[in-house]
C-alpha cells in the first residue's frame, strides 16, 4: 500500500508552503511519526512526521519547492514486515486469477488414443541391437507385454528362416507392374517364412557390406577316403557320408585362428564369440532353416555327419528344438548340393562370415610331380566365403580360405583333427 505525505494546512488561510529540507532520502526506511521533512509557511515552520512505517519510495516535491496545501509531497510504501525482520514485501498484493468455472471453457475432447503397446527402455534397446521390429513380436510378459526374452526368441526364430542361398546381391527388381490378378500374372500370397526371408535378406544386405572371396580346393584325398568308407558307414549308422562333415570339422578348427570371422559387429566393438557353433543351412519345403551344430570341433567326423543328418531330417519334419535354432557364430551353406558351382551367400545376421560350398566334382586339373606338370582328374570344389567388410578385410578372409584349403588338401585319415575311431579301416 502507498501512503502519501500530504502538505498540511498549518494555520488558517494558509494556502501553500515551501519544502525547506528533506530529513530522509528516497529509499530510506522510515518509522511512523518519525520526522521526514521540514516545511515553512508564512505563519510557521514545522517538521512533518511520517504517517506510516515503510520505505520513503518517491519524493515528489524537492527542497525549495513551493507546494499548495493538500498536495502530495512524497509516497511511503508500506511494508508488511514482521517484527522479526523477515520482510514480507512492500509491493501491493496482486490478485490471482479466479478459479476456473467447471463445465465452461473446456476445449474440445481429445481424440481417443489408439491403444498402444508399451515397450520398456531395455526392450527397445535390445530390439534395436538385434534389428527386430517390435510390432512383429508377440509378448509373453504381464498383460501381454513384450519382454527381453520375447525379443531374443523372435530373433532366433527369424534366423531359422534365414535364406542363405546363393542368391545374387542384386535385389533390384523390375518396376513395371501389370495390373494385379490379371491374365498376365498370378499373385502368390506371402507365407510368414517368405516374408521373414525377404525381410532378413534386405536387411542383411543393407546393413552389412558383403564381399565374397572364393578359393578352389582339391578334395581328392577326402574323396578317395570317402569312397572307401561310405558303404560301411551307411550300414553302420544309416547316414550317408558326404563331404560336408569334413569341411565343417576343418572350419570349426580353423575359425579360432581368424577370430574376427567368428564374431558380430556392434558400435561398441567387434564382439568375438569365444566358442564356435556352426549354423548349417538346410533347405526345407518353403524356404530355409539354419539349425546350429554346437562345438563341432569337439566331435569326430562321423559324429558331425550323424548330427548334421539328424538336424536335416528334423528340419524337414519341422521338429527342431528352439535352442537348436540359436547361438550360432558362423554359418555353412552347402549350395553345391543343388549343383551350383559358385555362389555369393548372404550373411546370417548378426554373423560376419558365411561359407558357401559349391559342387565338388571331377575336373581336369594341373598337377605337378617331381617338377613335371601334367593334367589329372581331380575332385575339385569352390569355397565361397562371404564376409562383412566392416569387421573383416580381404586379407583376413583370404588367409582363412587358404588355411581351409590346405587343411582339406592335406587330409590324412586318422591324423590330427581327422582322428576318428569310427572311420578306421
Amino acid at each position: 500500500m502507498s501512503i502519501p505525505i500530504i502538505m498540511p494546512q498549518l494555520g488558517e488561510s494558509v494556502a501553500e508552503g515551501i519544502v525547506v529540507e528533506w530529513l530522509k532520502r528516497e529509499g530510506d526506511r522510515v518509522r511512523k511519526d518519525e520526522a521526514v521533512l521540514a516545511i515553512s509557511t508564512e505563519k510557521v515552520e514545522a517538521e512533518i512526521p511520517a504517517p506510516a512505517s515503510g520505505v520513503l519510495s518517491r519524493i515528489l516535491a524537492q527542497a525549495g519547492a513551493i507546494v499548495p496545501v493538500g498536495s502530495t509531497l512524497a509516497i511511503i510504501t508500506e511494508g508488511f514486515a514482521s517484527g522479526t525482520g523477515i520482510d514480507l514485501g512492500t509491493e501491493a498484493p496482486i490478485t490471482v486469477p479466479p478459479l476456473p468455472i467447471t463445465g465452461a471453457g473446456v476445449s474440445g475432447t481429445r481424440p481417443e488414443r489408439r491403444e498402444e503397446r508399451f515397450y520398456s527402455p531395455a526392450v527397445r534397446r535390445l530390439a534395436d541391437e538385434l534389428g527386430v521390429n517390435l510390432a512383429d513380436v508377440s509378448g509373453s510378459g504381464e498383460d501381454g507385454r513384450v519382454t527381453k526374452r520375447d525379443v531374443e526368441a523372435f530373433c532366433q526364430a527369424r534366423n531359422r528362416k534365414l535364406a542363405a542361398v546363393g542368391g545374387t546381391s542384386d535385389a533390384a527388381g523390375t518396376r513395371g507392374e501389370p495390373a494385379a490378378g490379371s491374365d498376365e500374372e498370378e499373385i502368390l500370397p506371402l507365407t510368414k517364412m517368405r516374408r521373414s526371408i525377404a525381410d532378413h535378406m534386405v536387411r542383411s544386405l543393407r546393413e552389412a557390406p558383403h564381399v565374397t572371396s572364393i578359393a578352389e580346393a582339391d578334395f581328392t584325398a577326402i574323396a578317395r577316403f570317402r569312397d572307401a568308407r561310405r558303404a560301411a558307414f551307411r550300414e553302420a549308422t544309416g547316414t550317408p557320408l558326404t563331404f560336408l562333415p569334413f569341411i565343417v570339422k576343418a572350419t570349426a578348427h580353423l575359425l579360432p585362428e581368424s577370430p574376427t570371422l567368428n564374431a558380430r559387429w556392434s558400435e561398441d566393438g567387434i564382439r568375438v564369440r569365444k566358442a564356435v557353433h556352426l549354423g548349417i543351412a538346410i533347405a526345407v519345403a518353403d524356404g530355409i532353416v539354419v539349425p546350429v551344430l554346437r562345438s563341432p570341433a569337439l566331435l569326430s567326423i562321423s559324429e558331425v555327419g550323424i548330427r548334421i543328418s539328424d538336424l536335416a531330417r528334423r528340419a524337414q519334419e519341422g521338429r527342431l528344438l528352439p535352442e537348436e535354432l540359436s547361438g550360432g557364430t558362423f554359418t555353412v551353406n552347402n549350395f553345391g548340393a543343388d549343383g551350383n558351382l559358385i555362389g555369393t551367400p548372404v550373411l546370417n545376421q548378426p554373423e560376419v562370415g558365411i561359407l558357401g560350398i559349391g559342387t565338388i566334382g571331377k575336373r581336369a586339373a594341373v598337377v605337378t610331380h617331381g617338377g613335371e606338370d601334367s593334367i589329372a582328374i581331380r575332385w575339385m570344389g569352390y569355397l565361397c566365403l562371404s564376409y562383412d567388410h566392416r569387421a573383416v578385410d580381404g586379407a583376413v578372409a583370404g588367409r582363412f580360405l587358404q588355411r581351409l584349403r590346405r587343411t582339406l588338401e592335406s587330409f590324412n585319415p586318422g591324423e590330427g583333427i581327422w582322428a576318428d575311431p569310427a572311420l578306421q579301416p
Partner: protein, 324 residues
C-alpha cells in the same frame, strides 16, 4: 576371522575406539553403572572412568547439545539414545545445532549418535520405529545402518573417526540374533559405500538393516525358481552410494527396494528416484518397493507381522517383477 554377534561387534568397536583415542567418551541414560539398556557398555565405567562414561539424566536434547559443545572443544562424544524413537526429543539440537554448524561456521562437529531402532521385538509404537528418513533429509548429517556384525563394527569405528556428525542406526532385532565373521585389526569400512552382497542377473534387491537377511532368504527361494537376484546392501543412507545403485539397476533392469521403515517418503523413495534418473534406458520393469505400511508400529503379534516386510513379501514382489 572370528565370529561374533552383532551386539558384540558394536561393543568391540566402542571399546577399541575408547582405548585408541582418549578423546572418545560416551553419554547416555543408564550406560555407566547399569551397563546400558542392552548391556552394550557393561564394564566400560570400571575401565574408562566416570569422566568418559557419563550417566545422564533423562534429557535427550541436553545430551545432544552438550555432546555438540564438547565436540567443539575437540572431544569425540558418542551419544547413546536408549531407543531411536527418542531422538525426536533431541530433534532440534540435531537438525539446528549439529547438522548446520559446519556449513555456517566452518567448524565441524565430530559426534556420533547411536540409535537402536527397528521392530519385530514386540516393542510397540515407541520402541520399534525406523526413523532414519527424517535425518537422511538433513544436509550436514551422515546416516549409516549396518546389517552384519562386520559392517556394524567397521562403520561404528568409521563414524567415531569421522569429522562430521554421524547417526548410527543399530538394529535391535539383530543384536543377538545374528553373528558373523569380523576381520582382525581395525577393519574400518568407508562411510558412503554400499556393498553388493549377492550377485545376480535377473533383478536387483536394494535394501539395508534387518531386511538384508529377509532379502537373502527371499533370494534363495527365487533361485530355486530359476530367478537370479542380486542384493545391494546400502549400508550408508546419507550419503547414498549412487554409483552402486545405478550400476546394479543398469545391469539387471529390474529393481525391488526393501526397507522396514514406513512407505511414504522413506529412503526407498529416494533410491527409486536415483534409479529412474540413472538407469531409465535400461529399465525393463517398474521400480518396486516393499516396505511397512504408513502406520505407527503396532504392538500385538499378528499386527506387527502384517506390518513388517518379510521374505515372503519380498519374494512375491520379485517374482512378479521377474515375470513382467
Amino acid at each position: 576371522m572370528t565370529e561374533v554377534t552383532y551386539i558384540e561387534a558394536i561393543r568391540q568397536a566402542l571399546w577399541e575406539e575408547m582405548e585408541r583415542d582418549e578423546r572418545v567418551f560416551l553419554l547416555g541414560e543408564d550406560i555407566g553403572h547399569y551397563g546400558g539398556a542392552f548391556k552394550i557398555t557393561l564394564g566400560f565405567l570400571e575401565k574408562f572412568g566416570e569422566d568418559r562414561v557419563i550417566d545422564t539424566p533423562i534429557a535427550e536434547s541436553a545430551i545432544v547439545g552438550a555432546a555438540a559443545g564438547a565436540a567443539l572443544m575437540g572431544r569425540r562424544p558418542v551419544v547413546e539414545m536408549q531407543f531411536a524413537d527418542f531422538i525426536a526429543c533431541a530433534f532440534d539440537q540435531v537438525v539446528n545445532m549439529v547438522a548446520k554448524f559446519r556449513y555456517r561456521t566452518g567448524t565441524n562437529v565430530p559426534l556420533v549418535i547411536r540409535a537402536p531402532y527397528g521392530g519385530r521385538v514386540h516393542g510397540g509404537p515407541f520402541h520399534s520405529q525406523s526413523p532414519e528418513a527424517w535425518f537422511v533429509h538433513v544436509p550436514g548429517l551422515k546416516v549409516v545402518a549396518p546389517s552384519t556384525p562386520a559392517d556394524a563394527k567397521g562403520l561404528l569405528k568409521a563414524a567415531i573417526r569421522d569429522p562430521d556428525p554421524v547417526i548410527y542406526f543399530e538394529h535391535k532385532y539383530l543384536y543377538r540374533r545374528i553373528k558373523g565373521p569380523i576381520p582382525a585389526g581395525d577393519a574400518l569400512l568407508p562411510i558412503g559405500k554400499a556393498e553388493l552382497k549377492r550377485e545376480g542377473n535377473d533383478l536387483s534387491i536394494i535394501t539395508y538393516g534387518a531386511m538384508l537377511h529377509q532379502a537373502f532368504e527371499a533370494a534363495n527361494r527365487l533361485s530355486r525358481k530359476g530367478i537370479s537376484a542380486a542384493i545391494l546392501d546400502l549400508r550408508t543412507l546419507l550419503p547414498l552410494d549412487r554409483d552402486a545403485i545405478v550400476s546394479t539397476a543398469r545391469k539387471t533392469g529390474k529393481v525391488v527396494i526393501v526397507h522396514e521403515a514406513t512407505r511414504t517418503a522413506g529412503v526407498g523413495a529416494e533410491v527409486a528416484a536415483i534409479v529412474a534418473e540413472g538407469a531409465f534406458d535400461r529399465l525393463d520393469g517398474p521400480i518396486l518397493r516393499v516396505t511397512a505400511p504408513d502406520t505407527p508400529v503396532p504392538f500385538t503379534m499378528p499386527l506387527e507381522e502384517a506390518f513388517l516386510p518379510n521374505a515372503d513379501r519380498i519374494a512375491a514382489a520379485a517374482e512378479r517383477l521377474a515375470a513382467y
